[in-house]
């Protein structure tokens, strides 16, 4: 925390920009600048106890331009998308949507090596990009092999139970229009890459 105090005075401009950047990258209207630091979000959050910073604290840090600390935070990765914060926020700040924005930023800027969640997301969408549908078995095996080979055992019995009840399939379903979907996603990614290069924050 000491570095923070030191870095505040000389970074007045970039600070403002970080707030605007986060707000612009959030779909719809984020209302981030309207936060009154009441803590309703942090109080409501089911993961609040596990987060290193509550959503409210993150928003204060965003205002202070503490980019590193914000993007290193584990908080967005503990967000379970329950949307309690969003419906309870007295200022109608789109807290959950902002959490997603911070995840994207953290991944893009390489802050997430220590996190399992981005990898899970990555694995999940890997199957979607390949087949058009999600593939639970593939996801479970590939992800858990990489992250917690030990826990695999426990998950294994669970998977067996699921097989026994025909709730897991060995092969993924592939949609017919895979080529079209592929073209769409490639185009979307191309636009995103473009925006990254040209600073088109609103698209990120």
């Amino acid at each position: 925390m000491e570095e923070i105090t030191v870095s505040i005075p000389d970074t007045v401009k970039p600070k403002l920009r970080f707030l605007e950047e986060v707000s612009a990258a959030t779909p719809g209207v984020s209302r981030l600048e309207m936060c009154i630091q009441c803590g309703t979000c942090g109080g409501s959050c089911p993961s609040g106890a596990d987060m290193d910073h509550t959503p409210r604290a993150l928003f204060a840090m965003i205002r202070a331009g503490m980019r590193d600390d914000v993007l290193q935070s584990n908080a967005p990765w503990y967000c379970v998308s329950c949307y309690y914060c969003m419906v309870r926020c007295p200022q109608e700040v789109h807290v959950t949507d902002l959490m997603y924005t911070l995840k994207r930023m953290a991944i893009r800027e390489g802050y997430t090596d220590h996190e399992a969640a981005p990898d899970f997301s990555q694995t999940f969408i890997g199957y979607v990009e390949q087949y058009g549908r999600s593939f639970e078995l593939g996801l479970a095996t590939r992800f858990h092999l990489a992250h917690s080979p030990l826990r695999k055992v426990g998950i294994g019995t669970l998977a067996l139970d699921m097989f026994a009840r025909d709730r897991l399939s060995f092969v993924p379903t592939r949609i017919k229009g895979m080529d079209g979907l592929h073209a769409i996603l490639e185009k979307a990614k191309a636009i995103t890459r473009d925006a990254e290069l040209t600073g088109g924050t609103q698209l990120l």
């Binding site: 379970v80 419906v87 924005t101 997301s121 699921m162 009840r165 079209g180 979307a188 995103t192």
Partner: protein, 339 residues
């Protein structure tokens, strides 16, 4: 009545019981579910964490297909306001589709670029043309309790049901969801219509842990434990859900939660459509019973055993005022009762 139907990935396999029972209930109630051709995954809560535009394009493909299939030719799927109706039984799919449609309307830049991407696959979506609805909301509002009641042949007498909504149907509020973001009552009213006994379940809109079971299991186990404990405290026989993710977490991870905390919860987790099917007199087999990990056997026996009239309702609001002491505030429900 005819609706577009977006089952979503879960209902293909892991939540097949939901799909089967939904289609069975639709047959009884006489509404038609037209599956969206060649739909793709909605991206769950994952894609948006990686790439915004790709996530919106992925969802956008479904919306564009729905516009083509159900809106363009206006073949009887239209709501009164002219939007094509697309029913999603999975809360996560529902929210993803609903929210994308909303933000695409609000955010011109997002709309244009999403359509730019869709064009690469020969598609286009006009935000606002597809009205995404959740199955529960549609049954409650379009079919109605009275019509449901008319089809009840085997009331679920004596079955104590905790109604569990989870998050994504009731929150965030983008319009057209249930009565409240924290204390909705539709599912309770529906289960009551089926003859079951509704138990108070204060945590009914709390989180099931979502994808945390995969990422940080301990965090998820704790969330699941809270729910199971709360439902057990109120002596529920079953928890009824409206979302495949909730069902999976509470059902498949129940044993692990028991191991982790040394508890012995034993609560079957059923889909509301399964209960509807039972009350309509359909065979449990045809409703996907048997696919749950925590067996619903006992619950089924309880319904069978209990004589039709023995619906001695235990007090469903145990904390209500007793005769002595200060009066409790008047609640809207009380007025309903006295009226």
């Amino acid at each position: 009545m005819k609706y577009g139907y977006y089952p979503g990935c879960s209902l293909e396999r892991n939540a097949a019981a939901y799909d089967i029972s939904t289609r069975a209930v639709a047959r009884t109630l006489g509404f038609e579910l037209d599956e969206l051709d060649d739909w793709n995954c909605c991206g769950a809560t994952e894609y948006i964490a990686i790439n915004k535009l790709a996530a919106y394009s992925l969802i956008g493909r479904n919306l564009a297909l729905a516009q083509q299939q159900f809106h363009a030719n206006g073949n009887g799927h239209l709501a009164a306001d002219g939007r094509a109706q697309l029913i999603a039984p999975c809360s996560a799919c529902f929210l993803n589709l609903r929210k994308a449609d909303r933000y695409l309307q609000e955010d011109a830049k997002l709309r244009d670029t999403t359509n730019e991407a869709l064009a690469a696959g020969g598609l286009h979506y006009d935000p606002g043309t597809v009205f995404v609805r959740h199955l529960l909301e549609m049954i409650v509002n379009d079919v109605g309790y009275d019509e449901v009641k008319r089809h009840v042949t085997k009331p679920l007498n004596g079955l104590r049901v905790a109604s569990y909504y989870g998050c994504l149907l009731v929150r965030p509020r983008l319009g057209g969801e249930l009565s409240d973001a924290e204390y909705p009552t539709e599912l309770e009213s529906l289960t009551k219509t089926l003859g079951a006994e509704v138990v108070d379940f204060p945590l009914k809109t709390h989180c099931c842990g979502g994808h945390m079971t995969q990422i940080s299991a301990e965090v998820a186990y704790e969330l699941i434990r809270r729910l199971l404990q709360n439902a057990t405290e109120y002596r529920a026989d079953v928890i009824v859900t409206i979302c495949p993710m909730c069902q999976l977490n509470l059902d498949a991870y129940q044993t692990r939660v028991n191991q982790h905390f040394g508890t012995n919860f034993n609560l079957p987790i059923l889909y509301f459509t399964q209960l509807m099917g039972l009350a309509f007199g359909l065979e449990p087999k045809t409703l996907g019973f048997g696919k749950e990990i925590v067996s619903a056997e006992n619950a089924l026996i309880k319904i069978q055993r209990s004589p039709e009239s023995a619906a001695a309702p235990a007090p469903s609001r145990p904390r209500k005022k007793k005769e002595e002491g200060l009066p409790m505030p008047r609640m809207p429900e009380d007025e309903e009762v006295t009226a």
